[in-house]
């Protein structure tokens, strides 16, 4: 029970990826709005970045445009920016989390880590659950398609 306040295991997500690109290119693609707009967000989404002030306390406003025309505005605050090494940003509204991205050069490639720490396990579980609900709907459509295909 005491450990609960110390351990963050129950409210975090940690991803790592070795990218086959030099660190200056990876940094560029992560820090320039015209590049980030090209890869951020789920498949089928496009993005508009209205603000991206990469200094501690600087604001970042990114709107994701969904395939059905729905806009999702994401407002974040940069907390730490160490060129070619580290970016920390905070999502100060629900779902509250702090993301830390680190970059490390390894023989011409770039090792990237992406850590997301949610404010509480409640927030984390809720976001996972919400995501699952969306996925569940997609899966239902998939299942229906499979079912219909089998009837042919």
């Amino acid at each position: 029970m005491e450990n609960e306040s110390i351990s963050t295991k129950n409210r975090e997500l940690r991803l790592t990826r070795m990218l086959n690109a030099p660190i200056d290119l990876v940094w560029e693609v992560w820090t320039k709005p015209e590049h980030i707009a090209q890869w951020w967000g789920p498949n089928g989404f496009s993005n508009t970045i209205t603000k991206m002030d990469m200094v501690p306390g600087g604001e970042w406003e990114l709107t994701m445009h969904g395939p059905d025309g729905t806009d999702f505005l994401n407002k974040s605050i940069f907390r730490e920016v160490v060129p070619f090494k580290k970016i920390v940003y905070e999502h100060p509204s629900y779902p509250n989390f702090i993301a830390t991205i680190t970059f490390q050069e390894q023989g011409g490639q770039t090792h990237l880590t992406w850590h997301m720490l949610f404010e509480s396990e409640e927030v984390f579980i809720n976001i996972v659950k919400t995501f699952k609900a969306d996925e569940g709907q997609k899966q239902n459509v998939d299942k229906l398609e499979t079912y219909l295909a089998a009837m042919k």
Binding site: M1, E4, L13, L15, R17, L19, N20, A21, L25, V26, V29, W30, H35, Q38, W39, W40, G41, P42, N43, L112, W114, M116, E121, E122, I125, N126, I127, V128, K129, F131, K132, E135
Partner: protein
């Protein structure tokens, strides 16, 4: 209306998580659980009832005691969902990777 109880609801509350941790280590009766918390026995009983409804606790009658045992199989459902959410973020890295490849080609092509 019957409220649907699921495993998320069970673990969304810190007291209930603490109860699960406690009885996962060793089965306890409700009184013994209540002694560990700064809450009324009634409040603890309600938490135990919710956990029971969600299938995370099984209650066994032993003489006059009602012993709570943890049933943790259900929790694997949650970790499976976390994996799906992780995949969602992995796909962001996939598109970053694809975009980097595209940029590299464009720049070398010039």
């Amino acid at each position: 209306m019957i409220a649907r109880r699921d495993v998320y609801q069970a673990i969304a509350d810190p007291t209930r998580r603490a109860i699960i941790n406690m009885i996962a280590a060793e089965p306890h009766n409700v009184n013994a659980i209540a002694e560990n918390f700064d809450m009324t026995r009634q409040a603890i009983s309600l938490h135990v009832k919710i956990l029971t409804d969600c299938g995370l606790i099984a209650i066994k009658q032993r003489g006059r005691d009602r012993i709570c045992e943890a049933r943790l199989d259900q929790l694997s459902e949650v970790s499976a969902f976390v994996d799906q959410y992780r995949q969602h973020w992995e796909s962001k890295l996939d598109s970053l990777e694809t975009y980097l490849e595209k940029l590299k080609k464009e720049r070398h092509g010039k």
